[in-house]
Every structure is written in structure tokens, then in C-alpha cells.
Amino acid sequence: MEFAANITAAALFQQILVGLSRTTILFIVSSGLSLVLGVLRIPNIAHGSLYMIGAFMTWSIATVVGGSPAAFWLALAFAPLAVALVSFVVERGIFCRLYDREHLMLLLFTFSLTLVFNDLVKLIWGSDYRSLNAPDFLQGSFSIFGLPFPRYNLFLLLTGPLVALGLWLLTNRTKIGKIARAAAVDREMVSAVGINVSWVFAWVFVIGCYLAGLGGALVAPTQNITQGMDHAIIIEAFLIVIIGGLGNIWGALLGALIFGLTDAIGILVWPQFAIVFPYTAVVIVLVFRPKGLLKSVW
């Protein structure tokens, strides 16, 4: 294919929709990463592993329940919860004992978690590819300006704003959300008004990891579920969090939009070098706004 050979308005529109559905996954995963980074001040490298576990769990639950249309929805509901449970056990069992340690120790700990999770996934699910079908009515495509657009992507397009709304309600309308915003800036004063910061961290960590699991569950029907999907997502998620502004959930939304859209448009205009586009966008953002687009809590 030649450079920018077949761009029509319809193709561009279709590709933007594809990019936006990719944005949904990226936003959900990176908002969780950003939440943990903002409040606990820890870059959770194992976030990608939890995303992978979410995808495998979704496959397992859907397979165990069987072929009924409800199987996928059950899996979508319970796989992220299972991931949240795993993260809760890890946080209360080990992580919460390390908060007083220096930053590097925590970073190494989350890195070691990725190794452990990786091997656990290998033990439980083996190293084969898995794939999962979306429920019947979300399979196939419909046509937009004569070009096909997968129905499942439309479902993703609707999910993204819902999750964003949920996160807005969580951080602005619930007590735990308000406490988390306060703890992101001054954890010492939060404890001085009688709040057990350790439990705040636990909840925020679990909510963040739930989002990783949710991202994994949502992505499951769109790609092969396989070892290594953790590495791919964690790099993207970190870049998104960095260009958005560390710890800022809305920054993660903006970053995911930039990443998802440049990726999709790259595929359209220059397929062989598509992967260059989002990374170039990241570089451009960082040249002009080294601290990210929105206010970083660091």
C-alpha cells in the first residue's frame, strides 16, 4: 500500500471510530494505573498482568458457564471482581507492609509481581492462545457510509463514557473518592483527621486493579488472549499516564484519546509505520508539556 493512498472521508470516519473503541480499553486500563500512581505514589508495573489475568478469567468464566448468551455478561461482571480480589489479597497480605520502605523497593516489588503473575498464568492457563466470542447480537458488523464497523466496537464506544462517568462519581461524589483525592496530596494530614490511610490505599489499589481487570475483560473478545499481552498494555498505559499528567484520571482520558486516535489514523495513512504515530504523538506532547497535559499530582 502506498502512503495515504486510500483515504476517503468514510474511511477516515470509520478509522476514527475504531480508534475511539481502542481508546475505551486504553482509558479504562490507564485510569486505574493513574489512580494508584496518584494516591499510593507507586507505579504499579503489575497493572498489565492484572489486565492479562482479567482477560484469561473472562475466557474461563465464559467457557465454564457454557455457550449461553449470558456467559459473556457473567464473565464481564465477575472476572474484574476476581482480579480485584487477587489484588486485595496481595495488597493486604504483602504490599501494605512495605509502604514505609523506599520507593525503589516498592517498584521492585511490583516488578516481581509481574514475574509471579506471569508464571501463575502459565500454570493455570498454559501457554496456548485462547479466544472468546462476543455474544451473538454483538458479533458481525454493520455498515457506516458503506464501510463495515464491528458491532462489538460500538459496545466499547458506549462503555467508555459509562466508565468515565462512574469514575467521576466515585472521585467527586463518594466519601472514599474525596478521601482519596485528599490523600493524593497530603496523606499525613488525612491520617491526622482520624482516617486510616492504610485502608484508603487498599481500596484505591483494589479499585485501580479492578479497572485493569475490566479492561482485560472488555478486550477479550477482540483479540487473542495470550501471554505477553501484559507487556504490550503496560507500556502504552504508562505512556498515556505520563502524557496525561501523573495521577490525573482525566489526563488518562486525554492521553488515551491521543494514543488511540493517532494509532488508528496511522493505520489508515501509513500502515507499515502505523506504530510510529502514537509514539511520535507522545514525544510531541512531552516536548511541549514535559509534565503532561493536565495537572500532575506529583
Binding site: K175, K178, I179, R181, A182, A184, V185, D186, E188, M189, V190, S191, A192, V193, G194, I195, N196, V197
Partner: protein, 231 residues
């Protein structure tokens, strides 16, 4: 109510407090006077459990505080107002008070009562705390501490950086808090205000208590004030 006995506190390797002892009895306002860097804030932080002492003991309501985390001390009834205010800048005034509500009982402090006590806060209840003036932030940090329904209030330099008129109003409010039954430990550089509203005072210098007595003693003891308090 509060008994601090021979505490030694360190920041990392630097030894800051050298055997500080003091006592606060129920219903008193006790001031801790000293110059900048004398150890006032460190004493307050030690009592709140933010920088726990390595040696010595602290008892609050006859309960040993050793090893207790700040949130447990807050729940036991110690309210803390830090010297640098530290409002939750991203939260509104309302939200600052809301998340600080502890030990609720029917005669206790509520958001409404804090607004009655500091009427200017009611006017700006939906503003982000980071955008408040110094005086407003000071009211908010005190209001926030009151929302934890404390029995003992640790006030660390509440008048620092405030205009004289605001300082006067604040001093009156502190006396009103005492009249409502609250016990106050007040760390101050501003001796005029502190000696006006306190019952007793301690003088701290270089991490040790140099003097203690009633405010009448302190007002009359020119030498102590010149030696330890004058800049």
C-alpha cells in the same frame, strides 16, 4: 489530660527534642513558646504520632500513646492544626470538613456548627480550599480539626502570617473554644497573643524546656523572655 515525659525525637539522624516534658490539664489553654526552630512543631508532631519520639512516654487521658498511629490518636480525641495549614487543596471547603468528621455525637461538632463558629467559611463553602486566603485557610484547618470532635486541640502557630486584626479575632475564637470545654495546647512565637489567652506556659529552646509557669510569672520574668524568646 496530656502528659509528655522526657521525650527525645529525631528527624532521621538529627536529634531535635532533648527530654521534653510537659503537662496539659483538662480545660486549660497551655502555650508552648519558643523561637523559630526551637522544637515547638516537633513537639506537636511527636504528640500527634506523626514523628514518634524514640525515647520517653506520652500519655493521653492516662492511656499510653506509644506505637499508636496518628489516625488512632485522632480518634481518641486529639485534634491537630499544623503550622503550615495544609488544607486539602483540591477539595472544597465543604469536602474538607466532610471527610474529617469523626466521633460523631449529638452535641458534637457538625459542619453547620463549624460554619456558625467561623461564619466567613459558610460564604465560601463550595470554593476549593487551595484558593482561600491565609486567614480563611486557618479557619478551615481549625474547623477541620474540630470536626474530629477532639478533647485536646494541638494548635501549631495559628497566627503565623495573619494580619493583626485577624489574629485578634482568632484569639477570641480560641478562648471561646476553651469556654466550650476544649483543652488547648498552643505553640506560638507571638508571645503577646499567647500570654493573653493562656493559663500556663512553657518556654522551649534548642529542643529543651527552659521554663514553665503561669502566664503571670512569664509576663513578669523579663529575663527568661529576653533570653529565649526575643529574636
Amino acid at each position: 489530660m496530656l502528659r509528655v515525659n522526657e521525650i527525645h525525637t529525631y528527624y532521621g539522624l538529627s536529634h531535635i527534642l532533648f527530654g521534653v516534658s510537659l503537662e496539659v490539664r483538662p480545660g486549660e489553654i497551655v502555650c508552648l513558646l519558643g523561637r523559630n526552630g526551637a522544637g515547638k512543631s516537633t513537639t506537636m508532631r511527636s504528640i500527634m504520632g506523626l514523628t514518634p519520639p524514640r525515647k520517653g512516654t506520652i500519655h493521653f487521658k492516662e492511656i499510653p500513646c506509644k506505637g499508636k498511629k496518628p489516625h488512632l490518636l485522632a480518634r481518641m480525641g486529639i485534634g491537630y492544626v499544623p503550622d503550615d495549614r495544609r488544607v486539602f487543596a483540591d477539595l472544597t471547603v465543604d469536602e474538607n470538613l466532610e471527610i474529617s468528621e469523626r466521633n460523631v455525637d449529638k452535641n458534637g461538632w457538625t459542619r453547620d456548627r463549624v460554619y456558625d463558629f467561623f461564619p466567613p467559611l459558610r460564604e465560601i463553602h463550595s470554593r476549593r480550599a487551595g484558593f482561600l486566603s491565609g486567614g480563611e485557610q486557618q479557619m478551615l484547618t481549625i474547623g477541620r480539626a474540630l470536626m474530629t470532635n477532639p478533647e485536646l486541640l494541638l494548635l501549631d502557630e495559628p497566627t503565623e502570617g495573619l494580619a493583626p486584626l485577624i489574629v485578634k479575632g482568632l484569639a477570641e475564637q480560641i478562648v471561646r473554644l476553651k469556654e466550650s470545654g476544649l483543652t488547648v495546647l498552643l505553640a506560638e512565637q507571638n508571645q503577646t497573643v499567647a500570654l493573653e489567652i493562656s493559663d500556663r506556659g512553657y518556654v522551649i529552646d534548642n529542643g529543651s524546656i527552659r521554663y514553665h509557669g503561669t502566664v503571670v510569672d512569664l509576663r513578669e520574668n523579663e529575663e527568661i523572655r529576653r533570653k529565649y524568646l526575643c529574636v
